[in-house]
Symmetry: C2
C-alpha cells in the first residue's frame, strides 16, 4: 500500500493566494506505490512515486472527484500557490478555483504529475533502485495507456470508484480520451480540449527535431548527465523554442511582437534583433532551468505513440464504442498544433459510435495555448458544462 | 571590368540532358567584379565574383532576357545538367526549358548565385582579400536590396538594359518585388511566387531557431570552422529539418508519410521510428554536406530583413507606387510558410497603387514547395503569362 509523504497544509495568508477565485496555498502529496507496474513497452517499474495536488473537498460518497491530466511540459501544480511569496499560480489557475470553470466549490480536483515527469513523480531524474543512480535514459518510455493505468491505481488508493470527469488539454486531453476507452466504467465525463486522435506526420516531425536537438547536444552524455558538470541545456532551449512556436498562432505572434526590434534599429548581425527572438530565447532559457531533458524526450514520444485506435484495427469509432461516459470536445480556431479538424476527427468517431458528445470550436486568436487561458467564450462554455456535471452528482 | 572565367561548353550527349524540355548540359560562368560594392549594412566588398548560368539565346536587341532569383538554399544551377552523368537537373527544371513555362526557345534566361552564397559567388567560404583566410562570420550580411544592386551590375556588364522579367519564388520573389521598386525602368514584368511582403514574427522565429542550432553547435568555432576538423554539421541538419517542415504542408506530409513506421513496429526508444523522421534526417544529412552554415545564417537574416516598405513609411503601396512593370503574383493554398494571405497583401498594395497585376491562388496540396513543382494548373498559368511577354517583345 502506498505511503502518504505529505499532507496538505493549512492555507497561509498571501496577496495572491487570497484573491477571489484562487484555491489558495496548496501543498503537494506524494504517494509511494510498491506494487510493480508493467508498461506498454514491456518493461516494469518495480516501485514508483506519484505526486499530486488536490483542490476542493471530496464529498461523502466520493462522486465529485475530477482528474486533471497534464500536457507535455505540465505537472501536478495546476492551481493555487505553493507559498505566500509565490508570484505565479499553477498552470491552469485560469480554469480551476472557486467559481471557475472547474469549480472547487463543487468538485474535488486531483492533479497529478505523470510517471516519467520531472516534478516529483518517478521519472528519469529519480534513483533507479537497481543501480543506485538516476535512471536517465534507462527510464522506460511511458505512454498514455500507462499513465491511465497509473492514474487508475491512484484512484483505487483514494477509493474513487468513478471520476465525475477526467479532463485535459493537448496531451492531457488524449489521456482523457484513453480513459474513456480503457476504463469506461470509471468516468462519467471526458473533457478533451485542443487534442487530436493521433499525431500527424508534421506533429511527429516537430517532435523529432526537438529530440534531435537534445540528443545531439554535447551536454547530453547519452542521457547520464545528472552527475556531470553540463546538461543538454542548449538542446532543451531549442526544443522549447520550437514547441513554443507551435503553441502560439501566427496571428498571436504578430499581435504580440510584430517585427519590433529590440534596440530600435537593425544591427546586421546574428545576435538578437527582433523582440520575438528575445522572447523565445528567454522562455527557452527559463524552461531549460526547470525541466529535465530526458523527461522532454519521453513526453514527446508519448505524444508520438498516442494511438487509441491501434488496438481496434485503427478504427477510432470502434475504439470509442467502448466508452460509456459523455464527452465535451473543445478546439480553437487558430490552433495549428492540433487544429479544429483534428478535434472533429474525434467528434466524428464519437458520433459514428452513437456517443453523447458536445463539441465547440472557440473563435480566438491565441492558438494552441488558448486552452490554458481565461478566454470568456471558452471558460463560460466549459463552466456551463461542468455545472451540468455538478447537478448530476449532487 | 569583370573577367569571364568560363564560357558555356557545347552540350554533350546525355540520357537526361537530351530529354525533350531539357536545356541540356550547361556550364556556369563566373564574373569577377573589381569595383567595390557598399552594402546596406554599411560594409563594403572591395571585389567579388558572381557565378551564373544561362539558358536560351539572347536576341539581337537584348529584350528577351529573364533574371531568375533564387530562394534561401538555392543557387545558379536552375535548369539542365552539369554533365552527362548528372542524375538530377537544376532546381527549377520543372519551369525552365524549351516549351516550359519559362520557355528557353523564346527567352534568354540568366540564373545567378547570390552574393553570400556557397556555390561559386563570393560568400563566407571565399577568401577575404584583407586577411588571406575565408571570411567566415566576417562576411557582411547581404540583403535583398544588395542582391538587386549586384544583379543590376551584372545586367550592366551583359548590356541588358531591361529584363523582360525578373522572376523568383519565396525569397526569390521578394527580390523580384525589390527590383520593381528600386529599378523600375529596368524590368517589364515581375513574377512574384509564394512570397510575402515582409516576414511575420512566426517566420522570424523559425529562422531564429535555425540560426541558434548552428551558432550553438560546438563545431561552429565562431564561424571560423573551414580549417578545423569539425563544422556545425548537426546545427545545419537541425536548421534544414526545421526549414523542410515549413516547405511541406501538413496534408502533403500526411499523404507522403502518414505514421508509417520504419521497421513496422514500435521500438520504444529515441532512434528513428517513423518514416517521416527518417526522411527528414536523411534530407538534413545530405543538405549539411552541400551547404555552408555561414551562408545559411546569412540567407535567413536576408529573409528577416526583407522590408521593401521600410523606406516608404512602412506603406507598401507607396513603395510599389514607384514600379513601372506589370506583375504576376502566385500563391498556393496549402503554403503555410508564406500563405496566400501574404501574397494578397502584395496584391492589395499593387492594386492600391493602381498597378497592373495578375494574381492566382493555386489549389494544390504540396505547400510552399509547390513553386518548384510541375503542377499543371500552376505551370500552365505561368506559361500563358510568359507567352504574353514573349509576344510583347517579339
Amino acid at each position: 500500500m502506498p505511503n502518504v509523504h505529505n499532507t496538505p497544509s493549512t492555507p497561509e495568508s498571501s496577496i495572491n493566494a487570497t484573491k477571489p477565485g484562487s484555491v489558495g496555498i496548496v501543498t503537494p502529496i506524494t504517494l509511494h506505490f510498491d506494487k510493480s507496474l508493467t508498461l506498454q513497452c514491456g518493461k516494469t517499474l518495480s516501485e514508483y512515486d506519484i505526486i499530486y495536488e488536490t483542490y476542493g473537498t471530496l464529498n461523502a460518497n466520493k462522486t465529485n472527484a475530477i482528474l486533471i491530466c497534464h500536457a507535455l511540459s505540465g505537472h501536478h501544480h495546476a492551481a493555487g500557490y505553493h507559498s505566500s511569496s509565490d508570484k505565479r499560480p499553477g498552470w491552469w489557475d485560469a480554469c480551476i478555483g472557486p467559481g471557475k470553470a472547474i469549480d472547487t466549490d463543487a468538485f474535488h480536483v486531483i492533479s497529478i504529475n505523470n510517471l516519467g515527469g520531472c516534478h516529483g513523480s518517478t521519472g528519469p531524474e529519480s534513483i533507479n533502485p537497481d543501480t543506485g543512480i538516476p535512471y536517465g535514459p534507462d527510464f522506460p518510455i511511458v505512454t498514455s495507456k500507462d499513465w491511465v493505468e497509473s492514474q487508475v491505481r491512484l484512484a483505487d488508493v483514494l477509493e474513487i470508484r468513478q471520476w465525475a470527469a477526467v479532463i485535459g488539454g493537448s496531451l492531457g486531453g488524449m489521456q482523457a480520451l484513453q480513459w474513456s476507452i480503457d476504463y469506461p466504467e470509471r468516468l462519467r465525463h471526458a473533457v478533451v480540449i485542443a487534442a487530436a486522435p493521433i499525431l500527424s506526420a508534421q506533429n511527429i516531425a516537430f517532435n523529432e527535431i526537438a529530440r534531435k536537438a537534445i540528443l545531439s547536444d554535447s551536454g547530453f552524455h547519452n542521457g547520464h548527465y545528472y552527475d556531470k558538470d553540463s546538461f543538454p541545456k542548449n538542446g532543451l532551449i531549442l526544443a522549447r523554442m520550437l514547441g513554443h512556436i507551435t503553441y502560439l498562432s501566427d496571428t498571436a505572434m504578430r499581435e504580440k511582437f510584430g517585427r519590433e526590434l529590440r534596440e530600435g534599429k537593425l544591427k546586421f548581425d546574428y545576435d538578437i534583433e527582433f523582440q520575438v527572438e528575445s522572447y523565445l530565447n528567454y522562455q527557452g532559457e527559463v524552461f531549460s532551468e526547470n525541466f529535465d531533458a530526458n523527461t522532454y524526450l519521453l513526453m514527446t514520444r508519448a505524444l508520438d505513440y498516442f494511438d487509441p485506435a491501434a488496438e481496434y484495427g485503427n478504427d477510432l469509432s470502434l475504439a470509442v464504442d467502448r466508452a460509456k461516459c459523455r464527452f465535451l470536445v473543445i478546439s480553437f480556431t487558430t490552433d495549428w498544433r492540433f487544429s479544429p479538424e483534428r478535434s472533429v476527427e474525434i467528434v466524428d468517431a464519437l458520433v459514428a459510435a452513437d456517443k453523447d458528445v458536445t463539441y465547440s470550436e472557440i473563435d480566438c486568436p491565441q492558438g494552441h495555448d488558448s486552452f490554458l487561458l481565461d478566454i470568456p467564450q471558452y471558460t463560460q462554455l466549459f463552466k456551463a458544462y461542468m455545472q451540468g456535471i455538478a447537478q448530476e452528482i449532487s
